[in-house]
Amino acid sequence: MTQLILFNVFNGLIIGAFYALMALGLSMILNLSGVINFAHGGFLAIGAYLAYSLTPYIGFWGALAVAPILTAIIGLLVERVLIRRLYGRDPLYSLLLTFGLAFMIEDGTRYLWGPETLPFTIPDWLASPLSSDFFFLTGYRVFMVVLVLVTVGALFLVLNRTRLGIRIRAGSDDLETVSVLGVNVRILRNLNFGLGIYLAGLAGVLAAGMLGLQPTIGNELIMPSFVAIIVGGLGSLPGTLLGGLLIGVASGVTAVFFPSASEAVIYVMMGLVLLIRPRGLLGEEGRVL
């Protein structure tokens, strides 16, 4: 039994890392632009489908590199054409817009690629367990975690070390001051949105290797990402990362004892966090009010 729990803690971390990848993108967009991107799951699907279509030509690794970038470009365009118009307006509108966008993306992928589940093939050596005792540690899962860690590491490096990253962070804290300092906020938000969508696209490619590729692939993944953000603390990216890992572990462990509550448990966690510490585990003070 202990072993079973241990297995599931590991496993939860793997899934949590994946949630965190989604949630970080969402969180960045939310922090800088005040937009809850409901279409994030849609962009995940776009990333997955693009990877599927690219694989025969440039292989899995090529697709892994290119598909998220293409997704990000689509994201940049969407931001420029649609989302940008809504900054400074009631957040209600951006919520509704991305909600509609999510519908359109789901239907669009169904139209272009068909409603059937598509077989997405990953390299053979990734698709087998690393050891027969820890058979759930497939090459692919380990690879996923490593990739998420590298990506998150790189993201934090970008945010802390590059000019763009520092501006994004500063803008998330106090947009007015940043714009007074002469930073072009429009471009900043555009690039930030693209970066967030890149993460969604990457999550999409990874998801396609594990799940069936369907137009609704992103729908089940977006809500846990919301919870990750709230649990981790609004406005805090390390918080989001922590939140993602925590809910992954929580639902993994719950699945051992009480499978039908494995989703509900993350919402219960969120309720507890809100009750005890409304700003989230690592949230900034003052974000709540």
């Binding site: 496993n11 169904r110 698709a127």
Partner: protein, 420 residues
């Protein structure tokens, strides 16, 4: 053009074309209300065309469309032209499915109602059609209650009950692969009844249940359950998951190497699912409800060819067959009885045998009196990772007659009450 991931030819031009098609053809369509002439016989299909079950619903619709074309070529129903009205029930929103049933019955005044893929919707729309006294053929919802505890005088079903599926395959599993079974069961009525069916068989044969994991419907990560299954060390792991859950669970089971240690099996399997799996995950012993590669059965070849023409060159699946058979049933029985009166037709359908060119199966296929369940053949066999023909992903090992697999009517819990 038929296979390979780029079969959709996603290039700039086709994207533009697609956009134009969505934009123009379909925007224009809503505003051109096709005159629904009163003298046509109308068949309503209330099935999911969006969401998780979209593919299954669409395939059923193609089967219906083929049947309607054929029926009209042969003189229609009672000499009148037949029209198929299809409504998207969505995959998950039963309220919408009910609404669409109302729409088809109340407004469009359909003479027959077909659908639904989703069991819950099949049950809920069955209530509507029973209240409105419209003959209703359930195409693809498998839960036992449709022709069991919740049966109605006007509701017939062409796809199998879950019990028929488990009964057809359990003997083979037990004899050839071992008597200790572990279940991966999706946590809803469909999964529960399948598991109960297998458990009944186990009891009969004297086997043991190594354990069971109830997996929430829509689970994306099956590893916790697979870990448990591995720990139980069974002879056979039985996957009762369907649709997207089946794709996800099998994909992950193979990645974990479980197929190398245990035999993988299950009950209902569909060509749509096998096609969605990577080659190495096309494994296991399953039941198909109909299969296209039946070289010795007459008329099947013609049916396959006809569907291919309508289906981007792809072969028919059981779903196409469901749609085809249920639509033809309406025509056959109405022309035989020379009436559209639902009560008379329903009475005549009890015990009605499908002609071989519609049944497309080796044995006699008939609607059973008492519970209104069709008694088709079941195709027990194993998945093939790469067939001689690309779409030949299943090898039929044994054909089981529906009448041998089904519970007797007295045990289904169905008591049909006819309207006064």
């Amino acid at each position: 053009m038929t296979d390979g991931p780029f079969s959709m030819k996603i290039n700039r031009r086709s994207v533009l074309k697609a956009a134009a098609a969505v934009g123009v053809a379909q925007v224009a369509a809503p505003f051109v209300i096709s005159a629904r002439a009163a003298d046509k016989v109308k068949i309503g299909l209330d099935d999911p065309f969006t969401g998780t079950y979209a593919e299954l619903g669409k395939n059923e619709k193609i089967g219906c469309e083929l049947a309607v074309e054929e029926i009209n070529k042969k003189g229609g129903i009672l000499g009148r032209e037949v029209e198929l009205l299809s409504e998207d029930s969505t995959s998950t929103n039963t309220g919408t499915a009910v609404q669409k049933a109302h729409k088809l019955i109340d407004r469009d005044k359909v003479d027959f109602l077909l659908g639904n893929v989703n069991s819950a919707m099949a049950l809920a729309t069955g209530e509507v059609s029973a209240q409105a006294k419209v003959l209703h053929i359930v195409t693809g919802g498998h839960t036992d209650a449709v022709t069991g505890t919740d049966c109605h005088w006007n509701v017939f079903r062409v796809c199998n009950t879950t019990r028929m599926e488990t009964n057809s395959v359990s003997q083979i599993l037990f004899n050839e692969f071992g008597k200790k079974w572990y279940f991966i069961t999706p946590d809803y009525a469909f999964g529960h009844t399948l598991q109960q069916g297998f458990e009944a068989s186990l009891k009969k044969f004297g086997g043991t249940e190594a354990g069971a994991s109830l997996t929430p419907l829509g689970t994306t990560d099956f590893s916790s359950y697979l870990i448990k299954a591995q720990a139980a060390n069974p002879d056979v792991i039985i996957f009762l998951t369907a649709g997207q859950d089946a794709v996800n669970s099998l994909k992950q089971a193979v990645q974990f190497g479980l197929d190398k240690k245990f035999h993988i099996a299950g009950a209902q399997q569909e060509l749509e699912v096998l096609e969605g799996l990577p080659e190495n995950a096309r494994i296991g012993t399953w039941v198909f409800e109909w299969y296209w590669n039946q070289p010795n059965v007459p008329h099947v070849k013609e049916f396959v060819a006809a569907i291919r023409k309508k289906n981007n060159g792809k072969v028919p699946t059981a779903r196409h067959w469901f749609g085809y058979v249920s639509t033809w049933t309406c025509a056959l029985i109405a022309n035989q009885e020379k009436t559209l009166d639902a009560v008379k037709l329903a009475k005549a359908l009890e015990g009605f045998t499908l002609p071989p060119e519609i049944a497309l199966m080796p044995d006699k296929v008939a609607y059973r009196a008492g519970d209104h369940q069709l008694m088709p053949d079941l195709y027990v066999g194993h998945a093939v990772s790469k067939g001689a023909v690309p779409e030949d992903l299943f090898h039929v090992d044994k054909i089981v007659k529906g009448t041998d697999a089904a519970l007797p009517v007295s045990e289904t819990g169905c008591k049909v009450t006819w309207p006064a």
